[in-house]
């Protein structure tokens, strides 16, 4: 039968052995991490972004590399997912993008701070994280299982104009075109039948001026981008009637 002294030996011996193994592995990890995390790309902007991330306890709601709280989205690949322009608009007024839904604190970041945060996210997304976050592996199966809707397919193929960059990255997160996109604002397929060029242009330039209290954010679009968007919207020929 096991004696107390051999039990003690097991405890001391095992603990020492595994502690030393752990230290050796840590040594190796520390030597590999700079390359895996592209440490040479960590410029001052990335470091400042990291500090902003820490100082405001962003991890208290979000996760990054899967670590943090589970109240707000995982942000490791946020630049890839949303694009830089979207993040810029969103951070200026988080609640405007998702009116009536889960809230984020309005931090009133300056342009420079937002740039730093984006640089931090761009650095984070290139870390070799052994395949995290994974691609949704059931997504293709779910899409195959759904009966395809010819009208939706028609709407996209019938669109004469290519979707402007602004539309792809920003507008689509709230509005749907051809059945794809967000549900916060109304679908835009038949917007040409309801509004004129001037109306659309005024609306995009100053949503609050046209309809005070609207959830549509003032995106501070340049004249050129606004023209491009209006042109695109007027050419959407609404639903299935192509």
């Amino acid at each position: 039968m096991l004696s107390k002294s051999s039990a003690r030996l097991f405890f001391i011996g095992g603990t020492t052995f595994f502690s030393l193994t752990f230290l050796a592995l840590t040594w190796d990890t520390v030597s590999q991490v700079p390359e895996r995390s592209n440490a040479h790309e960590m410029n001052e902007s990335v470091t400042r972004g990291h500090d902003i991330w820490n100082d405001n306890n962003c991890m208290g709601c979000h996760t990054i590399l899967g670590e943090g709280a589970y109240y707000a989205p995982e942000l490791t690949k946020v630049v890839e997912r949303r694009g830089e322009p979207w993040i810029r608009v969103f951070l200026k007024d988080p609640q405007a993008m998702f009116p009536g839904r889960r809230k984020m604190v309005q931090y009133n970041f300056t342009e420079d701070q937002i740039t730093d945060l984006i640089e931090f996210f761009k650095w984070i997304q290139n870390i070799d994280a052994n395949g995290f976050p994974p691609e949704p592996d059931l997504a293709p199966k779910v899409q195959n299982a759904m009966v395809s809707d010819p009208s939706v397919a028609g709407a996209t193929s019938g669109t004469a104009h290519v979707m402007p960059e602004m539309m792809k990255t920003i507008c689509i997160s709230c509005h749907a075109v051809g059945g794809k996109g967000g549900k916060v604002g109304p679908a835009l397929d038949d917007v040409a039948q309801r509004y004129s060029r001037t109306e659309l242009d005024r609306w995009l330039a100053d949503p609050q001026g046209v309809k005070p209290g609207t959830g549509m954010p003032d995106l501070k679009l340049s004249d050129e981008v606004r023209r491009e968007l209006v042109e695109y919207l007027l050419n959407l020929n609404g639903g299935g009637n192509q």
Binding site: G14, T15, L25, V33, R36, C61, F98, K103, I127, L138
Partner: protein
């Protein structure tokens, strides 16, 4: 109570329970926010409530451990504490640092590092405070008449916990290093040295409550803490899968975390076997129930549910989802909250001379809090698994998924009401015991207490 100075434990236990009640308040804020009722958002946003909730947990558990140490160490080393005055000063400064830290969280003064949100300037005060605590405990043991395995294990656990706090104070610009060494604190605390503390308290309680020979219990204590470190140290690897550390952690973390439940299973079997083996009946059945409950639920919560999502193939999908919250709640409750409760229930009758361990109140406190916590774990599990499938597997938008699982947080809050009812009963029972009395200098070690029970 054999030594007058053991009474200082009362201050720590009372503070501990007060902070626990506050933790529950913040838990409700979080639960309601997840349900869509974030009415306090402008004053207490989610990240504030969350940091407060988890840090209150750490502080009240540490407070409970310190109280337990102030009780156990004089008893094990057979002498009075070296200084009651300094113990009271240590208690007061601990409370002050804690209150400043928690108030700071409400004013955006913190570090965004999960579980270690306390800002660095305050870290130094924590270190001074803990050194004072360890000094008092260490000196008492050093000057004591006897060195027991239980006492030494408790001290090793406390000293290692203090040492492991230090890697968490180093500043790294690289998020990967920041995360890597943050787990040295968090993981090696809860799945390493805190288990030493828990194991030591468990064996102390089993020696007192079952009457089994000290030599037998302490032998198994060595075996169990041996398995804890054998699996737990390299088990840290399960936090290193997807944070930018090398790929070999997937294998190492996977294998050694799969062994981690063994330590908890060992503790459960050990506690059950000892309580059966001890033929004599200690009258304080409720303290024994908390002790055994702790051993069993720590296996379920920390061991089994931890293992359920610790394999790299599973963790790839569950990493950073509510599944983690599911495991976290039952693990902390089973392993650490319940051992503190067991200590309180064992100590209070001796400290106050009142045998309030019979009757419906302590019974229902035990039942309701445990049923409530198990139900909460179930609600988290359903919400977490739904989140994993909808968001991670199917690729639905985060907010859409969160809105579709709101209903499970209604379940969570209802379960939390049960849990809270149990906790409030426990606290009321604690209040009924009253404050420690001077004249109750007896010892549980003596045959008398068993004779009284069998009579």
């Amino acid at each position: 109570m054999k030594y007058q100075s053991q009474k200082v434990a009362y201050l720590f236990f009372a503070t501990s329970l007060l902070l626990l009640c506050l933790q529950l308040v913040y838990g409700f804020i979080l639960g309601f926010a997840h349900m869509g009722f974030d009415v306090l958002h402008d004053w207490i946003p989610f990240n504030t409530a969350r940091a407060t909730h988890t840090n209150l947990l750490v502080v009240w558990l540490l407070c409970g451990f310190m109280g337990s140490a102030y009780w156990v160490i004089p008893d094990e080393s057979e002498r009075e504490l070296v200084s009651v005055k300094w113990a009271v000063i240590q208690w007061a400064s601990f409370v002050v640092v804690g209150v400043i830290a928690l108030a700071g969280f409400h004013m955006n003064w913190w570090e965004g590092r999960k579980f270690l949100e306390i800002p660095r300037p305050l870290d130094y005060f924590v270190v001074i405070n803990v050194l004072l605590f360890l000094g008092l405990i260490g000196a008492t043991a050093w000057k004591g008449k006897r060195f027991t395995t239980t006492g030494i294990t408790l001290i090793i656990g406390l000293v290692s916990a203090a040492l492991l706090y230090l890697p968490g104070m180093i500043h790294f610009d690289n998020q990967v290093f920041d995360s890597y060494f943050r787990w040295w604190v968090v993981h090696l605390w809860v799945e390493g040295v805190w288990e030493l503390i828990m194991g030591a308290l468990l064996s102390y309680l089993l020696i007192k409550l079952t009457g089994v020979d000290r030599e037998v219990i302490e032998k198994w204590l060595y075996v169990i803490v041996g398995i804890t470190f054998l699996s737990g140290i390299l088990g840290t690897g399960h936090h290193y899968y997807y944070i930018g550390a090398p790929e070999y952690w997937l294998m190492i973390g996977g294998i050694f975390s799969a062994l981690e439940p063994l330590a908890f299973l060992g503790m459960a079997i050990f506690a059950m076997a000892m309580s059966r083996k001890g033929g004599r009946k200690h009258p304080n059945r409720i303290a024994l129930r908390w002790t055994l409950g702790c051993a069993v639920l720590s296996f379920v919560g920390a061991g089994f549910l931890g293992m359920a999502h610790t394999l790299p193939q599973v963790n790839l999908w569950t990493h950073g989802t509510l599944v983690t919250a599911m495991h976290g709640h039952l693990a902390f409750w089973g392993a650490y909250a319940m051992i503190v409760f067991a200590m309180i229930m064992y100590v209070m009758p001796q400290m106050t001379g009142r045998n309030l361990y019979n009757g419906w109140l302590p019974e229902w406190a035990f039942l309701l809090s445990n049923i409530g916590m198990i139900a909460m774990t179930g609600a988290f599990a359903v919400a977490g698994i739904a989140q994993v499938y909808l968001e991670r597997k199917v690729g639905m938008d985060f907010l859409d998924v969160q809105e579709s699982i709101e209903v499970h947080f209604l379940g969570l809050v209802l379960a939390a009401v049960l849990f809270t009812a149990g906790i409030l009963m426990f606290v009321w029972n604690f209040v009924q015991f009253g404050i420690p009395q001077n004249d109750v200098l007896t010892s549980d070690d003596e045959e008398g207490v068993y004779a009284e029970a069998t009579a």
